[in-house]
């Protein structure tokens, strides 16, 4: 299983969407650090390099990071179908659920790698602004970017690490959802579009207040609201498990 998982990780990081995604996640902070309209749009004058890290996370989680993980999950299965390699894997005496599990575990790694790369890019892009103590906030802690006074580097680091880990947890159900659609459609494009469409549809359900606390989309900004993690994290976990279970169920009897 370990070798199968390692092979799936290797294949995942060979995918074009994954390589482009990592490049974008690394370069995005440099773009934000140089953006001339930050004050007009966010009311922010960069006071510290830590804020660049947060800014990249906030901007990425708006659409780019969810889209990238959905694309990766869709392509992980879709590209194997298109290349024909999935058939040759399934000819081997292994349960289909095991192959899918290895793929899913590898995909679960991707959001965290993506966020780590964004974090690293943010740190590098933020270096000219300094990473020492500063008056203000990281943007993902108390007081937002304005902060509540002097913020020391360890506090800033802790706030940003927590926000990135929560963002990673937010992306996991999206991975599982895209993989579920990939098993249904066996196509990268169809699966990615279906996953994005599902999220957009879920967002519309905000008009039903009774449903809102249970919607996946309610927690897509959990990295900004760590106080909601009590309900949000278990719910995200249930969504992830549910989508993964359905994907395994579909894949088990899927004709190839």
């Amino acid at each position: 299983m370990l070798r199968l998982f390692a092979f799936e990780v290797y294949k995942l990081f060979r995918l074009r969407s994954v390589q482009l995604g990592l490049l974008a996640a690394f370069l995005l902070p440099f773009l934000w650090a140089l953006a001339p309209g930050l004050k007009e749009v966010y009311g922010l004058v960069l006071a510290s390099g830590w804020q660049v890290v947060a800014l990249s996370l906030l901007a990425g989680m708006e659409f780019l990071f969810p889209f990238l993980v959905v694309m990766a999950a869709s392509e992980a299965l879709g590209s194997e179908v298109a290349q024909g390699t999935l058939k040759s894997l399934l000819l081997r005496p292994l349960p289909r659920s095991l192959l899918l599990l290895a793929k899913l575990l590898a995909l679960f790694l991707y959001p965290f790698v993506l966020l780590a790369v964004s974090f690293l890019g943010g740190l590098l892009a933020g270096l000219p602004h300094g990473l020492g103590p500063f008056y203000g906030g990281t943007g993902v802690g108390a007081g937002g970017f304005a902060g509540v006074g002097l913020l020391l580097p360890p506090q800033a680091l802790a706030e940003l690490l927590r926000a990135h880990l929560l963002a990673g947890a937010v992306l996991l159900p999206l991975v599982a959802l895209a993989l579920l659609y990939a098993t249904v459609f066996l196509s990268t494009t169809a699966s990615a579009l279906a996953a994005v469409a599902t999220l957009l549809l879920m967002r519309l359900l905000v008009a039903f207040p009774a449903l809102t606390p249970f919607l996946l989309t309610t927690y897509l900004d959990l990295h900004l609201r760590p106080e909601a993690a009590g309900l949000g994290l278990p719910l995200l976990f249930i969504y992830t498990l549910g989508f993964a279970f359905l994907a395994a169920l579909v894949f088990e009897r899927k004709d190839l």
């Binding site: 092979f7 390699t85 058939k87 081997r92 292994l94 289909r96 004709d255």
Partner: protein
Amino acid sequence: MEALRLEGIGKRYGRKPILEGVSLAVRPGEVYALAGPNGSGKTTLIRLVTGLAFPTAGRALVLGEDVHKNPGARRHLGAVVEAPAAFYPYLTGRENLRMHAHLAGVREEGRLGEVLARLRLLAVADQKVGSYSLGQRQRLGLAAAILPRPKVLVLDEPTSGLDPEGVALVHGLLRELAQEGVAVLLSTHHLQEVAQYAHKVGILGGGRLLDEVALSGKEAYRLEADPPEGALALLKTLPQVRSARLQGRALVFEGDPEAALRALLQEGYRVRALHPQRFDLMAYYQERVKHA
């Protein structure tokens, strides 16, 4: 026990039947060729046999185990289901095979070199598969299929895309594997070539198994004797002759040629020629498909 057995296997997509009630068996050491026009269901049958697709009726057994209920049954199975076989283009041929060896539970490192040599791929084994020719990929597919020493080999158009040398290599390999006791099921359009060593041919048409022709023991003889009508009547009375018919002015029969010749000469018939005539599988196939 049959190495491979299909029991009334069928496949429908919605209300459209693709295959209906196909039953066949392949014994160890037997080569079974599936023939049929495009769209007759050959590839669907191969996908069902290998467990890639699920039947809507019937079952497929490999050494008595249902491939759709027990994935472990595929440990006896080697297969190439696409032409050319699909591999990861960014890995070398050897790396691709190593991955397949791991998934198939093959532990001997020497086995990789063995199959690469057998398919004459050693020279390109350490090149990326992306740079392989169509024929090389097809041969690598066969190498991957025989890697775990399968007892049942299932191949969809194994000679597709190969040059004459490659075709001869594949036919030679299949013949050898059959002699080693491997049951081979293959789909093909190249009936004449496969007829040289196949034991049975299944003719598919419209999603049904129209006919099964046993090729071994299908040796026929062509006889020219005067008068042919009388000679035919005599041959039909002989217990050593299984079937006899007129073909133009000659007689074609199956059975013991010496007994037939002796009887004709005793009765005073003038025999001008007697020689073996191979069963014309192609003509039979065309006739069978046409009438279907």
